[in-house]
Subunit: 166 residues, 4 copies
Amino acid sequence: MKKNSKILILVTGGTFDKEYNEITGKLFFNNSHIKEMLDLGRCKINVEIKNLMLKDSLDIEKKDRELILKACLETNEKKLVITHGTDTMTETAKLLANNIEDKTIVFTGAMIPYKFGASDGLFNLGSALTAVQVLQSGIYIAINGNIFEWNKVQKNREKGVFELTN
Amino acid sequence: MKKNSKILILVTGGTFDKEYNEITGKLFFNNSHIKEMLDLGRCKINVEIKNLMLKDSLDIEKKDRELILKACLETNEKKLVITHGTDTMTETAKLLANNIEDKTIVFTGAMIPYKFGASDGLFNLGSALTAVQVLQSGIYIAINGNIFEWNKVQKNREKGVFELTN
Amino acid sequence: MKKNSKILILVTGGTFDKEYNEITGKLFFNNSHIKEMLDLGRCKINVEIKNLMLKDSLDIEKKDRELILKACLETNEKKLVITHGTDTMTETAKLLANNIEDKTIVFTGAMIPYKFGASDGLFNLGSALTAVQVLQSGIYIAINGNIFEWNKVQKNREKGVFELTN
Amino acid sequence: MKKNSKILILVTGGTFDKEYNEITGKLFFNNSHIKEMLDLGRCKINVEIKNLMLKDSLDIEKKDRELILKACLETNEKKLVITHGTDTMTETAKLLANNIEDKTIVFTGAMIPYKFGASDGLFNLGSALTAVQVLQSGIYIAINGNIFEWNKVQKNREKGVFELTN
């Protein structure tokens, strides 16, 4: 809750940012909606948004993860939120955990695109931005009310939820 | 982040829950929307909602605050979120702070009713539910990305924002 | 359905255009949302919007109605849609009916402000823009699926609906 | 505008009714939203909804079209609205035009699913329900503000709009 620290938001895509293409009838990535969501939340904290990529997390490859890692290492900020597709979120988290020690990094995502009326995205973004301010150094996943340490959670793809690993 | 603890949400009203009355053209309270908002956020944590009242915070009187205090004292839960109108939020927080020591209580509210398309409510609710899980005992206000200790903040009514006191 | 004729939309305010003021907590008029609504409806017909006033229809006075009449008479367009608060819609319609013979004028409004998530406004606007293209000269009210001739309808303020007069 | 006639709405699917599947991340059909949309529009006219199928119009086959024709012929109602995917809307319209003479049938659809925040569906539904009340017998397409006779229009798939044929 030190008010002078800035939070860096790294955008990588995921369900969060998917839109409906009126011409093709398919879902696609156009632009990130994170700025619009912060405006909607009347977010008053010091935040910088950096768009790294707009990808479905199933399409995130080794070199993409390395790009995310590089962005985390290069910034002077100690508090980062990463928006990321849920399917491979823990894989990216693992790479960061193996290489970063002194930063608080919170992953978040959504089960429903923000542009749909019924998205959980705004709830999750509020959660992630709060977690990153309060938690000690480490890599976390904040989604649907839960805040998990990255290595104690897995996505149950059948149910579409994150669960604690045994 | 202990998964076994339940969070109690006390509903008192505020902008959060205001609706538009089609017949009179006025804003009014009908029902609380907190359950609907938790569903929208696909909230997966253990939460109980208790509706205490549905009031504009300018209409909350001494006996209402005492009712809120009583509800906080009577419950066994150690983690509470209180939805409350923003105008007198710090007054209620002060009463709780003077009487409760061993609980984490997070107030939240909204600048725009949830039922409006452009409400900040879902963002704030995600924030409050995260703050209450992570923070030490104390009375806090989580709104628009900020998490304030109750006695270090005031509402700037002209700007419609919460600010740190000097 | 002649594609070359333009439709003039006269904006007068009404529930349609009311917004929530975050600072005061009251409803107020800021800007008209008709352009935004046409964009949402991907409206492809030739339409011109003219903002006459932004008033609750209970606040529309004799001189306001005369301004509306003047705008209807001055334009060369033969097809007009007027957005108007529902409470005194039939009064304005009467003034127009007494002074205009050769134009198709369709009034419409909303029971819930457009900016609320659950507004009927978009439905009514689609209805009015269709009615004005198809109907013969005359003054009509298109709302909530009904298309009424102006002099055969009254608003039931208790129920908040328009009904045929006996 | 005779108030005693009922309008039959035949649901066949199309973009109108597509939803986002949280588990698979794909669009799919679950239930029709027409009833919910009529409620949102506070529709006060006498309407009956009949769900025939929930299909993308590219998946509508000869036997499906015959089912739609059969439903139009079997009902006693003279005024019908058909919700239908836009890609093959004119094909179904042609079959009906070749077999039905004494009914007013208005097709409508949407460019964006209703469940997305930014759908044109409600606008189009208001338009179709108005057109069907006012127009003479015939087969029409009401979409994005236009009301076309079925045999004078084609969908421009590149632009995603309906246009008059030359």
